[in-house]
């Protein structure tokens, strides 16, 4: 995989400096695949998509340093050639043009800035867990680096991890260093039927089993598990899973290998699965303690003329990430998630005034504002994107 080596940091820095001078704010943009995430705001575009290339990559160090505008698809292809992967399996999502065509333009910078992780997250960690270092343009227009390329580094505050999920509100990511994992030799998807309650109970019991699971989904009364290992281990693991189900959940039938696996997990990862694309209802993400029982109060499970109800929940991460179609008012959903020790974010089909994230406790929000003011003293980076007033 040849990735275009194109360092435009000087011109990006220039743009930041003029923005400071002109007291203009900037809208930082990578591949435009995650524009929906967060609030809309008016600002001058700062385009990172041309800032691409690999700065350093030595597979035995399990680390890659890459410019923020590099496309996820290209980066992953390069890693695959070396039998390695990004541990957090970042969703690409797709950018849809005005004419309706979709583009796989997601960049690594965007993946880190939003900190969204994919199916593997519950098993091999999140974007924030994998980040080792960053190079950024700070609020004064200077290029500074934090962290590094080594696995352990506690010199100075951990500003690399602070950048993850800060959605470009604290600085512009120029390049990131990421911890890698060896790519398992094979994947195997195993499926079996289960109600939501049964599925959650199975997920619960699986947490202390030691199967090489790297993804889990419950949807439409089916549990799908992805296992990743050598051919031989996958075989024994399949048997072990079925013995486990038989012992602990005699009511369930045994798990069968499912051969449409790769595309299925990609659809789940990138939200091209019909659950996400074929609805006009609000789509919520609930982040909950994994053992939380089934939440049925907010389902919009409408029975359609004698048909089975339309599935309105999709559960991932062994119960920790739950997607829900619901027209229930936002405050009720937020309260419900909070009362279970988690939180809700509004993903798709939002109204113009709907915020993505729930309000923070006042004292906590104050610290956010103080931090933002210190890191971005001129208030130029993605103002109001994450929260109004931040």
């Amino acid at each position: 995989m040849k990735i275009k080596d194109n360092d435009i940091s000087t011109s990006l820095q220039q743009q930041v400096k003029s923005a400071i001078n002109d007291k203009k704010s900037l809208c930082i943009q990578g591949g435009k695949s995650k524009l929906f995430f967060g609030n809309r705001f008016d600002a001058e575009l700062l385009d990172l998509s041309q800032h691409t290339g690999i700065i350093s990559y030595e597979p035995t160090e399990l680390c890659i340093t890459v410019r923020a505008g590099t496309k996820l698809s290209e980066l992953e292809a390069l890693l695959a050639e070396n039998n390695q992967i990004l541990p957090f399996e970042p969703p690409h999502y797709l950018f849809t043009d005005k004419d309706g065509t979709t583009h796989n333009t997601a960049t690594i910078g965007g993946a880190i800035a939003t900190g969204i992780s994919g199916p593997r997250r519950a098993y091999t960690g999140s974007a924030r867990d994998a980040i080792l270092g960053v190079e950024i343009i700070n609020g004064d227009g200077e290029i500074v680096s934090f962290g590094g390329q080594v696995m352990k580094n506690v010199a100075g505050y951990d500003l690399s991890r602070l950048m993850v999920r800060s959605q470009g509100t604290l600085g512009i990511l120029l390049s990131v260093s990421i911890k890698l994992l060896p790519k398992p030799a094979n994947d195997l998807t195993l499926s079996f039927d289960a109600t939501q309650d049964q599925a959650l109970a199975v997920f619960q019991a699986l947490r202390v089993q030691q199967l090489p699971i790297t993804a889990s989904v419950w949807y439409n009364n089916t549990v799908s598990l992805r296992l990743s290992a050598s051919e031989l281990i996958l075989k024994t693991s399949h048997t072990r899973l079925n013995t486990f189900l038989n012992d602990k959940f005699p009511a369930l039938s045994s798990a069968k290998a499912d051969n449409k696996s790769t595309s299925f997990w990609q659809e789940i990862r990138d939200h091209t699965h019909p659950f996400f694309t074929l609805t006009d209802k609000p789509v919520w993400r609930l982040s909950l303690p994994p053992a939380t029982q089934s939440i049925s109060q907010i389902d919009d499970a409408i029975a359609q003329k004698g048909d089975a109800p339309e599935p309105s929940q999709l559960i991932e991460w062994g119960g920790a990430q739950r997607w829900i179609h619901s027209r229930t008012p936002a405050n009720i959903i937020h309260n419900l998630a909070q009362s279970h020790g988690g939180y809700a974010s509004f993903f798709y089909n939002k109204g113009a005034d709907d915020e993505t994230f729930p309000a923070l406790a006042p004292e906590l929000f104050k610290i956010h504002q103080q931090l933002k003011r210190k890191m971005d003293p001129h208030g130029i980076f993605n103002p109001n994107k994450m929260y109004q007033g931040l």
Binding site: S126, D129, G148, A155, L162, L232, Y343, F357, K374, M375
Partner: protein
């Protein structure tokens, strides 16, 4: 730097209304045991030591200090190796040793809620009956507190596979400098807003006082094997490390010791380490039985190819514990070789291990001090222990210079001055080498967002630009020294 007597009296008066007299220490006699942490080369006496045992007391103490502008240095178990808990002459030590309760264990979500003074190992011991454990295991785990672990982002022998403290905690409660109690993180996999949990981790007590922690627990691996390989040359052991990773295997632990360290550890742990080897590698593999079987075969083959001359595979839990006991007690066991040691903590890219070890032995000749190397080879985290005698005039200074050379070398080869022990008081000058003025300014900006008057552990971890300028230290960027042609070491 000292407090004026008025402020001091007011402070002591207020503190005495918060905790009982037994837990407010003010005499030189009682304060002296607190004059240093695990790095005894630096000592200072605080104005007072306060030992609260509930959050409300902590809030009141912090408020009192904040009103009077008195610095606060938090202290866990005082095992830190960078002088992080070194007192401030004009401030108090806020000791959290009495916060030693495990509040709950959630066997469904695999978490435990613990107080900050709980010993790292005590968590694993409490979780054991449920088949669970807390993964980060610093060598000091028998004694160090989980609060100190969060403040230092402590690592351990199992961090290669299971991550550092930051990857193994979900939520903390902190008391901010104005006495407010904040909850950061949550019991779910992510939280809205900035990742302040990550920012607090490793912040060395400079952004807030940690008063409660939710840690993740993991199921104990079904099977574990520990391989010990001995080598005739240190470099061969170093290269074997990269070879194992290149095979696509991430061992649960991959540790290395050189000859002096082997001898000291053997004297304490009687682990049957080979006393004639130049270096040994300890490699722990875990997982379910089948996966393990596969990995052991690959690792054994790789080690042989890398010229290991003897490989021992410990299968029983007792044999494994013995092998690790030597490694985990290696630092203090070095106390048998020499009255004092100075422990370094640089991290380097794995491929540089052999080169850096060679350089360290040259430095050792140059400074005339012996060095024992013990380290987390899997993640390139070196712990050279420089042996010296504090009673001998000038030896500490030489040891410090030797240490500085090692750390600057680490930065030069693309690594960092501290992998897990923190900057504290000790490595503050080397921060000038690793970071540019703009970067240091950024750190101060973050500090001031939390602690505008700089009362929490002031003077640690981040050097002022002034200090760096005086030192004339050179910032090394991405491993590139300015003027690399000039010989420096």
């Amino acid at each position: 730097m000292h407090l004026d007597s008025n402020t001091q009296n007011t402070l002591l008066d207020q503190l005495s209304q918060i905790v009982s007299s037994e837990y407010l220490l003010t005499t030189t006699e009682a304060l002296t045991p607190y004059e240093c942490d695990g790095l005894s080369a630096y000592q200072r006496l605080p104005v007072a030591v306060v030992l609260p045992d509930n959050i409300e007391q902590v809030q009141k103490i912090v408020q009192a200090c904040s009103n009077l502008k008195v610095p606060i240095v938090a202290r866990g178990a005082g095992t830190g190796l960078s002088g992080g808990a070194l007192p401030h002459e004009g401030g108090i030590i806020l000791g959290l040793s009495r916060f030693n309760k495990i509040l709950s264990i959630d066997t469904n979500n695999l978490t435990a809620v613990v107080q900050p003074g709980v010993r790292n190992l005590a968590i694993t011991e409490a979780a054991r009956p449920y088949g669970l454990y807390y993964a980060p295991d610093p060598s000091s785990q028998i004694a160090c507190s989980i609060g100190g672990n969060v403040a230092e982002n402590a690592g351990g022998v199992h961090c290669l596979k299971y991550g550092l403290t930051v990857q193994n905690i979900q939520q903390i409660k902190i008391v901010t400098i104005n006495g407010t109690l904040l909850t950061l993180g949550s019991e779910t996999f992510d939280t809205p807003g900035y990742d302040l949990l990550a920012l607090m981790t490793g912040s060395e007590g400079m952004l807030g006082i940690i008063v409660e922690i939710v840690v993740k627990l993991l199921p104990k691996p079904h099977a574990v094997k520990v391989l010990m390989a001995s080598f005739d040359k240190v470099e061969e052991a170093g290269n074997a490390v990269a070879d194992i990773i290149a095979e696509g295997i991430i061992p649960a632990g991959l540790e290395m010791m050189d000859k002096p360290a082997i001898h000291a550890a053997e004297a304490f742990a009687k682990a049957n380490y080979p006393l004639d080897a130049a270096a040994i590698l300890l490699c722990e593999l875990d997982g379910d039985e089948d996966q393990l079987e596969e990995q052991v075969i690959v690792v054994e083959k790789t080690l042989k190819k890398a010229k290991a001359n003897n490989i021992v595979i410990a299968t029983s839990a007792e044999e494994q514990a013995k092998l690790w006991a030597g490694r985990k007690s290696a630092f203090p066991a070095v106390g048998r070789l020499s009255p004092d040691y100075y422990c370094m903590d640089g991290t380097i890219p794995r491929k540089q291990i052999a080169h850096v070890l060679q350089k360290i032995s040259e430095f050792s000749d140059h400074h005339g001090l012996l060095v024992a190397n013990v380290f987390h080879a899997g993640d390139g985290n070196l712990h050279p222990l420089i042996l010296y005698d504090a009673n001998k005039e000038g030896e500490l200074k030489t040891a410090e210079r030797f240490g500085a050379d090692i750390l600057e070398l680490c930065v030069e080869v693309g690594g960092t001055i501290t992998g897990e022990h923190g900057v504290g008081h000790e490595k503050i000058d080397q921060m000038c080498v690793q970071f540019s003025p703009a970067e240091l300014t950024q750190f101060f900006a973050v500090k001031s967002a939390f602690d505008p008057d700089s009362l929490l552990n002031p003077g640690k971890a981040i050097p002022t630009l002034h200090r760096c300028a005086e030192l004339g230290a050179m910032h090394v960027h991405n491993g590139e020294l300015p003027h690399p042609e000039i010989p420096r070491f």
